[in-house]
């Protein structure tokens, strides 16, 4: 289907799909959705791969596509139950209780934020991108990133039970 830059694209997918999926999980809180999101972003980027690599940092571009796709999905999505042929929760090795508690804590934290705030927080804190890089991904001003980040942290600080969770995590 697409031959130009195919090898380079394959290398990018092999190297970065894991990291992109982790970011996507923090946005969607669902591994299946995260995988769909990453695959869709990569499918949208592949036909333009040559142009992307000539003009831009490919990862910035793919992340931008991923976030825009997610925003579109959020606007369209039906928030009801999701059909599944499998039971979503499967047994996991290790300390399941602790893992679930941590995952729930992260979900609770992210749930109080708007989509934009959640995106900025994930890109800045989890992906360790600079403010300039986040601005590049979101196609906005650095000042907007700073103010959104500040609003996100202030909102989290206003949640007493969430602050307690974070302090427990800090210990």
């Amino acid at each position: 289907v697409v031959d130009a830059g195919a090898e380079e694209f394959a290398s990018f997918v092999a190297a970065r799909e894991g990291a992109l999926q982790r970011t996507a999980w923090l946005l969607t809180c669902d591994w299946a959705l995260a995988q769909d999101l990453v695959q869709t972003a990569l499918a949208k980027s592949w036909p333009r791969w040559d142009r992307i690599t000539r003009r831009d940092d490919p990862e910035i571009y793919v992340r931008r596509v991923m976030l825009n796709t997610w925003m579109t999905w959020r606007r369209r999505s039906w928030r009801g139950e999701r059909a599944s042929e499998q039971v979503p929760e499967t047994p996991a090795p290790g300390d399941l209780a602790a893992e679930v508690a941590t995952r729930l804590a992260a979900r609770q934290l992210l749930a109080v934020l708007t989509d934009r705030q959640r995106t900025v927080l994930v890109l800045r804190i989890f992906d360790d991108l600079s403010e300039a890089q986040v601005a590049q991904v979101l196609d906005c001003a650095v000042g907007t990133v700073k103010s959104t980040m500040s609003q996100a942290l202030a909102k989290l600080r206003d949640q007493p039970h969430l602050v307690e969770l974070m302090e427990r995590e800090a210990r």
Binding site: V1, V2, F9, S11, F12, V13, A14, A15, R16, E17, G18, L20, Q21, R22, W25, L26, W31, Q35, V38, Q39, T40, L42, A43, K44, W46, P47, R48, R51, I52, R55, D56, D57, P58, E59, Y61, E99, T102, R103, A105, L109, L121, V122, R124, I125, F126, D127, D128, L129, S130, A132, Q133, Q136, L153, L156, R157, L165, M166, E167, E169, A170
Partner: protein, 399 residues
């Protein structure tokens, strides 16, 4: 809890919560989706043209491309290629292997050779866009190698991973061996340590890669009365700030109570091109600020391009039972983040902990005292394995 503390806690919480994806996104899956998207696009375009024709309009077939901007920001993906200095794993046929490998596949895409006759590659480091190697040559004197000269060469790697022919960096022909090779991210300055045989302190030499001009920095006696001897040297992105990490010890001649040793310490000085005494520089951190000095040892420490953080590699840390790579604030000297921890419980084996010029992408090669060592790069607290799979076969890596 202030913003900085909150960010650290959130980072930890997110990293713990995310874990590993249960499945991979594969190229075949993406390919199927691309085909599906094209089929849908064609069907939609046909319908649109039919509709436009019926109402007498024309439409453009050009798809709008997203707005793409470029700016000089730090990379968000690891370098595509890395330099590996190591040995072959073939039984009874060990030989030096100095190669460029693909980060994604581990395939060897280029070979590194010293152009200087009879010399070998001893060390490698990288700026943004170029690799720098230390080529040294020597002789065996009574079974012990003695280096009689060292030179630094620069080369680049093409988009397909081929290494260009190394070019001598002006002003980098040194008598004897050199250690502690570092380079600024912009490639404008390189820094090495020289000397240090016997009881002599090492000298730090900063070389301008365009003019070959030298600036010399020396160790000496700190205000605490202890002697600072530089070992590892690094530069910030523009080469303005020099960071020297080294051992600190009390001289035997020091009277009781007049000397306090920090064991290990990082000092920064600026401008790096000025030269002078390192002991007049600013103390970035001491070993005891990172952990209990009786329980750990810092094997790697270098300042990052921004000058705001330093990367450290800590071994034999009894508190965490292992080896870890972390980020230290240059302002406060405290650990901001542990990037990767490898639990080895009892003892350790260490090859190297290095990073790209930004300090974002750490290369980690270490493990338990016996058996294979892990070799990989750190991605959000997870180790992405690199080749050679057995870290014992790599002496150092750079990217």
């Amino acid at each position: 809890m202030n913003d900085e503390e909150m960010e650290i806690v959130l980072s930890k919480l997110f990293s713990t919560a995310v874990g590993d994806p249960p499945d991979h996104v594969t190229l075949s899956g993406i390919r199927r989706q691309v085909v599906r998207r094209r089929v849908i696009k064609c069907a939609t375009a046909t319908a649109a043209v039919a509709l436009a024709g019926s109402i007498g309009l024309t439409i453009s077939a050009n798809a709008a491309s997203p707005t793409v901007t470029t700016s000089p920001v730090a990379p968000s993906a690891p370098p595509r290629y890395y330099a590996e200095l190591g040995i072959s794993g073939e039984a009874n046929h060990h030989s030096q292997v100095d190669v460029i490998r693909s980060t994604a596949t581990g395939a060897i895409t280029g070979k590194i050779r010293c152009p200087w006759a009879k010399s070998s590659v001893y060390d490698a480091t990288a700026s943004t866009g170029a690799f720098f190697i230390n080529c040294s040559r020597g002789e065996l004197n009574g079974g012990r190698p003695t280096l009689d000269g060292s030179r630094i060469y620069r080369f680049t790697v093409s988009g397909s991973g081929h290494a260009s022919r190394p070019v001598l960096v002006p002003g980098t022909q040194f008598a004897g061996g050199i250690g502690g090779l570092g380079v600024s991210a912009d490639g404008s300055e390189v820094v090495v340590t020289t000397g240090g045989t016997g009881s002599a302190l090492r000298t730090v030499v900063v070389v301008n890669t365009t003019t070959g001009a030298h600036a010399t920095w020396t160790g000496g006696i700190l205000p605490s009365g202890a002697v600072f001897n530089p070992e590892q040297v690094s530069l910030t992105g523009n080469g303005k700030v020099l960071a020297a990490f080294g051992r600190v010890h009390c001289p035997k001649t020091a009277a009781k109570g007049t000397c306090k040793s920090a064991d290990q310490e990082m000092i920064e000085v600026s401008p790096a091109s000025k030269g002078g005494s390192l002991v007049h520089g600013r103390e970035v951190f001491q070993q005891s600020w990172i952990g209990k000095t009786s329980q750990m040892y810092i094997n790697a420490a270098f300042i990052n391009a921004s000058g705001k953080t330093a990367t450290v590699g800590v071994v034999n840390d009894a508190a965490s039972s292992g080896i870890w790579a972390g980020v230290v604030s240059v302002k406060t000297g405290r650990v901001i983040k542990v990037q990767y921890l490898l639990t080895t419980s009892n003892g350790f084996s260490y090859r190297f902990i290095t990073a790209d010029p930004t300090g974002q992408f750490v290369l980690f090669d270490a493990g338990p005292p016996r058996g294979a060592l892990v070799n990989g790069w750190v991605d959000h607290g997870h180790l992405v394995h690199l080749k050679p799979a057995d870290g014992n076969l790599a002496d150092t890596e750079a990217w």
